[in-house]
Amino acid sequence: MTVDWSWIGDHTDELTSLTVSHLQAALTAVLFGVLISLPLAVIAHRIRPLRGFLLGFSNVLFTIPSIAIFVLLLPVSGLTRTTTVIGLTVYTLVVLLRNTVEGLDSVPAKTKEAAKAMGTRPLRTLLTVEFPLALPVIMAGVRIATVMSISLVSVATYIGDGGLGQLFTDGFQRNFPTPVIVGVVLTILLAVVADALLVALQYVLTPWRRRRA
């Protein structure tokens, strides 16, 4: 199996646009996942009975094969990018919900009590005390969700989308390894870079942990 380097050289435009499309799908899904999981996590964290239900339900969702979710969404949103993003968001949501709840759980009760004793209202406590302290665990979730999302986008090639995943279908149909190799390498590269950027972001967002070191 050899790589046709000239093919790569000839297709830089296409590779760039596929990479951009791929990244856009993955990041949109993570963004929506964060937006939806934050309030849900607070609910799960605060309201005991709902917690089991929300976490349990999301665990079950996670076991549904991604290809199936994409296909089942077809009649809902058609052969469009929307379908891909909704499908991806299901998975990012599960990961983010889990980690955000865990993060909120990890905030020491004493800290919350201190805030309450100082007269801080619950919402303010949530925003200025709980979330910042939960940030490391939440960010771990964002990292996992982002990397997973970048990998999952290629599954959407079965419904005509797929970003870099289209290189896999193409290579498969024509017995042509080069686009497949390029697709795998680029996907991994994207994920590694995104992960590194998120680590940097976490470093920036949690100055109090830096000072301790």
Binding site: F172, I188, A191, D195
Partner: protein, 220 residues
């Protein structure tokens, strides 16, 4: 929506759907076979690796970041690549599933090993135990809960992903998803997806129950 669910009920309960080469029983058996074998192979690779890194402390960077890398690997791409290299066989499927399972096993095994109280290790060495004795008689038993968690997580992930076997013409529950997709038969797709989810959740519950039972006497 209601129509879909009603048809799904018919599909799941019709006797014909359960028998024959395309029946649920057969596909389920295939799916479990792929999943269990892949996890076994992954354990054969991942356990020794995790134990070694945990015991010697060297290569911790690998153990910690292997999960990230493994998560980034696009399963479809890997399957196609191995298929193009090696032809039509179950090899691409197993390579992809093992690649998916190994990181979870290594990371959790390493986590289990590194959680062993260093004092306990010192005490063991102080008693004159040699390296491998410390590993097998002290560290491994203590790390066992997390190791089992790793195996369980790996198995669940593999079960959910073994649908990929159908992409390269093989069986398993993924056959329902891919055939349903091609035939625009949503009932089949939904049926396949549901069965995978049920199997994964059932295995998860059974194994965590087993874990709890096995380690019921342990504190902390």
């Amino acid at each position: 929506m209601y129509e879909l669910l009603k048809n799904l009920g018919t599909w799941l309960t019709s006797g014909a759907q359960w028998t024959g080469p395309d029946g649920i029983t057969h596909r389920l058996a295939e799916h479990l076979q792929y999943s269990l074998l892949a996890t076994l192979i992954a354990a054969a690779i991942g356990l020794p690796l995790g134990l070694l890194i945990g015991h010697t402390g060297k290569g911790a960077f690998v153990a910690i970041n292997l999960s990230s890398f493994g998560r980034a690997l696009p399963t479809v791409g890997l399957v196609v690549l191995v298929f193009l290299a090696g032809g039509l066989s179950m090899l691409p499927v197993y390579v992809a599933l093992v690649a998916l399972a190994v990181p979870a096993i290594v990371t959790n095994t390493y986590a289990g090993m590194s959680a062993v109280d260093p004092d306990v290790r010192d005490a063991a060495r102080g008693q004159g135990m040699r390296g491998h004795q410390v590993l097998f008689q002290v560290e491994l038993p203590l790390a066992l809960p997390l190791i089992m968690t790793g195996l369980r997580l790996a198995l669940i992930q593999v079960v959910a992903t073994a649908t990929i076997a159908a992409y390269v013409s093989f069986g398993g529950l993924g056959r329902y998803v891919f055939d349903g997709l091609a035939q625009r038969d949503l009932v089949q797709v939904l049926g396949g997806a549901l069965l995978v989810a049920v199997v994964a959740v059932a295995l998860d519950l059974a194994l965590s129950g087993l874990q709890r039972h096995l380690f019921r006497h342990r504190t902390a």
